[in-house]
Symmetry: C2
Subunit: 149 residues, 2 copies
DNA sequence: TTATCGAATGATACATTGTTGCATTCACTG
DNA sequence: CAGTGAATGCAACAATGTATCATTCGATAA
């Protein structure tokens, strides 16, 4: 696992601990798998990885529960358009994620843009709508994949 | 079906015709079901509705192919966070949809905000990323449901 | 230490959503 | 009327997600 990922993982674990949220071995295992991956992973991909790491079978519901937990803690994010999950780089800030999802290589880059959140929230407010969770995912081609094609 | 929906349906049919895209009876049936609904419908919900309307069985792959077609034509949109589909109100303009999805009543309101698209596209451009499709979905509570709770 | 209690996980079965591959039908065109 | 490509039918299956209940684990308090 690259150093940056290692830092991200530790940071996430600390964030959870500070909140009093239990970071169990299995939860750490799932989060570690997410940090080790270079692309979003599906729940069953994660199950396979964690089963190998723990050398035993893990039931699907456990994986889903753990993913729910990690997303609630803000240390992972579900990418709706892929039915997949990624580790989140800055869980300490309560923020909204924006992803650039490459159709070719499958990589999902998280970008930060608080303006987007504000812009939409204002529109929503005008309609009396209270936003609780935002999904912003742009699919297309990343720079390397454009050149490759 | 309300008048507005009826207009929307006809407009969508015309848009497709003008493009030379075949608007077959089955495709119209699916689109009509979408326009008649007051909330996003899943592929299998749609299948049930269209089966009743046509009084015969429809295979799931047909529904999915038709939904793909309708989305490509811009007369319907998939809401990723719900695995569901809605009719799109203005297919003539090539636009990006932004949805407000109410967790309580399930309704999905489409709002227009070209600024959002621009804002993110600029960020993407800076990274050399070419956006082909955008998913912007805000979940929360609509005004009526806030009062109800 | 031990009883207890809630959180987390295990286990089984199942529901929902989406796809593959190939056959058939249909409408248009030469 | 034959040929062609688009659309649909059909069967089986794959992938994703959930419901339910049992069990284990870990902290806390008697």
């Amino acid at each position: 696992m690259p150093r940056e990922a290692s830092r991200g993982l530790n940071s996430a674990i600390n964030v959870c601990r500070l909140r009093g949220a239990q970071m169990t071995p299995l939860r750490q295992g799932v989060l570690k798998a997410l940090w080790s991956a270079d692309r979003p992973l599906g729940a069953y991909d994660l199950r396979d990885l964690v089963e190998k790491a723990f050398d035993r079978q893990i039931p699907a519901p456990s994986i889903y529960r753990i993913l729910d937990f990690l997303c609630e803690q803000g240390v992972a994010t579900r990418i709706e358009s892929l039915n997949a999950y990624v580790a989140c780089g800055h869980p300490e800030r309560d923020h909204a994620c924006v992803f650039l999802v490459c159709e070719a290589c499958g990589d999902a880059t998280e970008i930060e843009n608080p303006k987007v959140e504000k812009l939409i929230s204002e529109d929503a407010k005008r309609l009396g709508f209270v936003v609780k969770h935002q999904v912003v995912e742009m699919s297309g081609l990343c720079a390397p994949c454009q050149q490759a094609s």
